[in-house]
């Protein structure tokens, strides 16, 4: 009896198979998430920029270590990045934000600035998008440190700001990171 059953089983097993599939396709795997993250922000009142003469440039500067772009995962998979800045000024002065990026050896990898002109104490909004792709992206991946400098230029009349001066200078910013993750 087994002799009779076995051939039937064999036929069954042989005819059952996995057809029209190609597992090598998994190698084509590519997912492309877009990640957004808040970056730097500040909000300072006009009174923070007091200076007695009313004629000097007030400079505030700070920097931070940022090795995020150096992470292996980011190095391997980041294909495009955009840094978006929005500066809102309601102080009756010119402001300029200089953003400078440095690599591990202190070399400059990228720099740009955002200038915002006043409109009395009305809010003036300036935006800036810094795109990192190809060479500039490689530079971003070498970035270890970011320096932000905010400069306030004196008014033509040379009037210093005091505790009663109106307005604020604000910055909001975010990074949009475009990844392409594949199996390689």
């Amino acid at each position: 009896m087994l002799k009779r059953i076995l051939p039937i089983l064999l036929v069954f097993i042989i005819t059952s198979c996995v057809k029209d599939v190609d597992f090598d396709q998994a190698e084509d795997l590519l997912i492309s998430p877009a990640v957004e993250s808040s970056l730097i922000f500040f909000d300072f009142p006009a009174s923070s920029f007091q200076e007695p003469t009313g004629t000097a440039v007030v400079v505030e500067q700070d920097e931070l270590e940022l090795d995020l772009f150096n992470e292996e995962f980011v190095r391997d998979n980041l294909v495009r990045a955009e840094l978006f800045f929005e500066v809102t000024n309601s102080i009756d002065r010119n402001f300029r934000a200089d953003i400078v990026m440095f690599d591990a050896n202190g070399g400059i990898t990228n720099s740009f600035d955002i200038t915002v002109m006043p409109d009395g104490n009305n809010e003036v909004v300036v935006t800036h998008t810094e795109l990192f792709i190809d060479t500039s992206l490689d530079q971003l991946k070498n970035t270890m440190r970011i320096q932000v400098t905010l400069s306030m230029f004196p008014s033509p009349a040379g009037i210093p700001l005091d505790d009663t001066s109106l307005g604020n200078i604000k910055m909001r910013s975010k990074a949009t990171l475009f990844f392409e993750i594949d199996t390689e």
């Binding site: 009896m1 087994l2 059953i5 089983l9 069954f12 005819t15 059952s16 198979c17 996995v18 057809k19 029209d20 599939v21 190609d22 597992f23 396709q25 998994a26 084509d28 795997l29 590519l30 997912i31 998430p33 877009a34 990640v35 957004e36 993250s37 808040s38 970056l39 730097i40 922000f41 500040f42 909000d43 300072f44 923070s48 505030e60 500067q61 700070d62 920097e63 931070l64 270590e65 940022l66 995962f73 978006f84 929005e86 932000v148 905010l150 909001r172 910013s173 975010k174 949009t176 990171l177 990844f179 993750i181 594949d182 199996t183």
Partner: protein
Amino acid sequence: MKKISIIILLFSCFVYGQNKQLLYNFTDIPQSLLSNPGAEVNYKWHVGIPLLSHIHANAGASGTSVYDLFADNGIDFNEKLRRVVYSMNKNDFFTVNQQLEIFSGGFAIGPSYEKNKYLSFGLYQEMDLHLYFPKDYAVLAYEGNRDNIGRVFDLSDLNAKGELISVLHVGLTTKLNKKWTYGFRGKIYSSLLNFKSTNNKGSFVTQEGTNNFYYHTFDLDLAFQTSGFASLVDLENEGQNDWNGKAIKELRKRVLFGGNLGLGLDVGFTYHPKEQWTVTGSIQDLGFIHHTKDVETYTLKGEYTFEGVNPLFPNNGSGQTADEYWQEIEDTFDDLFELDTITKNYTSWRSPKLNGSVSYKYGKKVLKECNCTAEDGDYLNEVGLQIYAIGRPRRPQTAVTAFYYRRLFSFLSGKVTYTADTFSKTNIGLGISSHIGNVNFYIMADNLLEYQNLAKANYASVQLGFNYIFPATKK
């Protein structure tokens, strides 16, 4: 990341369930006692052919199939992947179940004039994996958060457990009278490997911010419990092959009482309200394993809301520099995402299984010599309905089966099943059991409609085995 995605892809190829609707109450086969210790078997004794008495594996995935993802149809793989990711929901699951009987046997006991009890025993190895589709993790990995501002990613979507165990069992089946048969089976589990991550909580969300563009809120309460893995990872070795050998040797040591131990119970009955009617029911694997040896639990716990770096300028506000501020944020993130490894005992519950059936027997054999039915013979046909349920972390998975059993010849019987469950509404299965001399061979396969191309099936199973059975003589 790459490795994980490949593992997930592989997972979707080999996916298994546990329903043994073909074997259930197929009392020609001794292994039917494993799904119902109260099955009405009629042997003097039996012994399973070692390592060949019960080989079981069944495959399925709810929500997708291998074909959906790997069809060689010219559609871009990533498009197919996208469809799969979006068509599945968090309650879709993959499970792998495999069993191999190492030895088994049984014999009738009781007074010689009426041996109404049957003692059966054995040792089998079982692997069980169950993984829900981590939908929100998949979407987050697939899309990122940019297009999902305001969407709360639910971290409880990660829900998986898996185990490799050996089960030593002894069962006693008692035929109380013509109507009632009941049975119990006690089990000692020895866990070779176990992992469990079934009580995760928390969320990740990116929302419109006030001071900056976004708030990113992390609320993590994740745990991954393991036993049996840490010592394997730490095995001293001279290369991969050496490690493989040592790991297998180590696992073998755990088969008989060497692992983390647990206890379990099966109960079941068969009842004939009328001669031709049969009602059965059973519960399997009411049990637990207590993990005390070689345990490691990894946890991620904490809450944090990030909205960017501020203040920038030291002489304004806090006097903190941006770098100090950022350092603090980095430290917080490191703490948040640092896996804490703790050694803590834990208990894993086995997935209990419930079976039930109602059936009707009819049609006795027509004897040629008198053209009449054999009064003392068995009925040749049986039709009925079966239900099945298995407890899983979120909710039980259930199946309904209609079956037809037929004794074809004295040496051959067969069972056809039609099953509707989470995987498929059109699952037809076929099982046969042959008795040649005292050798019993059985083979059963599931989802025959998809057999032409298993890749398209959500589910398929196969079970086969050899036993040596010495049947009870007819009184």
